[in-house]
Amino acid sequence: MTFSDETVMAYADGELDGATRAAVEAAMLTDPDLAHRVARHRELRARLRTEFDPVLDAPIPERLLAAAAGTLAQARTGNIIALERKPPRNRAWPQWGALAASLIVGVLIAPLLRHAPVEGPVGIRDGKILASGALADALSEQLASNQIADAPVHLGVSFLSRSGDYCRTFTLRDKSVVAGLACRDREQWRLEALAATRPAGSGSGEYQTAASALPPAIEQSVDALIAGDPLDARAEAAARGNGWHH
């Protein structure tokens, strides 16, 4: 049985229906030339992926993040910036639910990438916004109950989320002060929210500490996710000992 080039291509691309696919597979067993044609199609796909896939893991230029979050320019006056100026503590979470966590990250990720374009604290992989570098290390290793005062990452509260994942709040002390909430996602830390805090004083003694200094956006995210109470020092250490898997 002979197959047209388009049929062989469709087979290699997984586009054939069951009967035709079975016919091609049966013929491949006895027809090395057909098997070779299929292999060539698959090799070309693999070669193209090898060429173009690396950009998936490359740092995203700030201008593209800003362009994607374009509507925030309008939302700015109403929501996001208002969050920082006057904490709307009386508002219920559902109103904020409309502002997807990844959107907040999308806007505020830009300054982070600017400061550290190669190995920044945040990266996008497979569509997920993940902690990387020193931030990822701190989330996995650092205990809030035992940390150095001027460490680049300061851990706040740790808790178990309603979906059963460990989550931790953190503050980054770069040139700007950024706070966030990350939850365990297999062996990674997925960012749930990220927001700028009020600029801390210049002296090291005025660094903001722990959860009391978290921006309202982060507090709201914690409130929305937390199941029960935050972990105490012993539970935090136990969670770390178990690789932050529940």
Partner: protein, 161 residues
């Protein structure tokens, strides 16, 4: 879809949009310009996105249109780019000089636009024939014919077994 939801969706699509654009144009800066233009157009046309439509396909379609507009503008200004579907000789070029191996990006750049777009959507982005045909706004038969010709030309240019 509300704008904040759309923005969140666009942020998560950024890596794929950049990959698609790199497959269309070799210059990384041009590719990112193309992505930026597509994002701006997508946000401006948020009202056109039907709630049940796949966001990725919709935005890929916008990026494709932006790319074609860009090519037309370039063609007007310097007449470098040939019109769509006029590059039928491409496969012959590859066969005529089998010793000269091209890089994948060089080979992609020599494909006629519509073949390049079909290859980028199906082989690089992993869309199904149906999805790719929808993005290109053509019947599936047209998509598969462009894909087959693009593939054949690429294989001729890239050599291989």
């Amino acid at each position: 879809m509300t704008s904040p939801d759309l923005s969140a969706g666009l942020v998560s699509l950024l890596p794929r949009l950049r990959r698609f654009a790199r497959a269309l144009t070799r210059n990384p800066h041009d590719a990112d310009d193309l992505v930026q233009l597509a994002l701006e157009r997508a946000l401006a046309r948020a009202h056109q996105l039907r709630p049940d439509a796949a966001l990725a396909g919709w935005v890929f379609g916008i990026l494709r249109h932006a790319w074609i507009d860009e090519l037309r503008a370039r063609a007007r200004s310097d007449r470098v780019f040939a019109p769509e579907e006029s590059g039928q000789h491409v496969g012959d070029v590859g066969q005529a000089s089998p010793v000269e191996m091209l890089s994948v990006q060089e080979a992609m750049e020599r494909l006629p636009q519509e073949q390049r777009i079909a290859v980028a959507l199906v082989l690089v982005e992993g869309l199904s024939y149906k999805e790719a045909a929808h993005v290109m706004d053509v019947p599936i038969g047209t998509l598969t014919s462009r894909l087959a010709r693009g593939r054949e030309a690429l294989q001729a240019m890239l050599g291989g077994s």
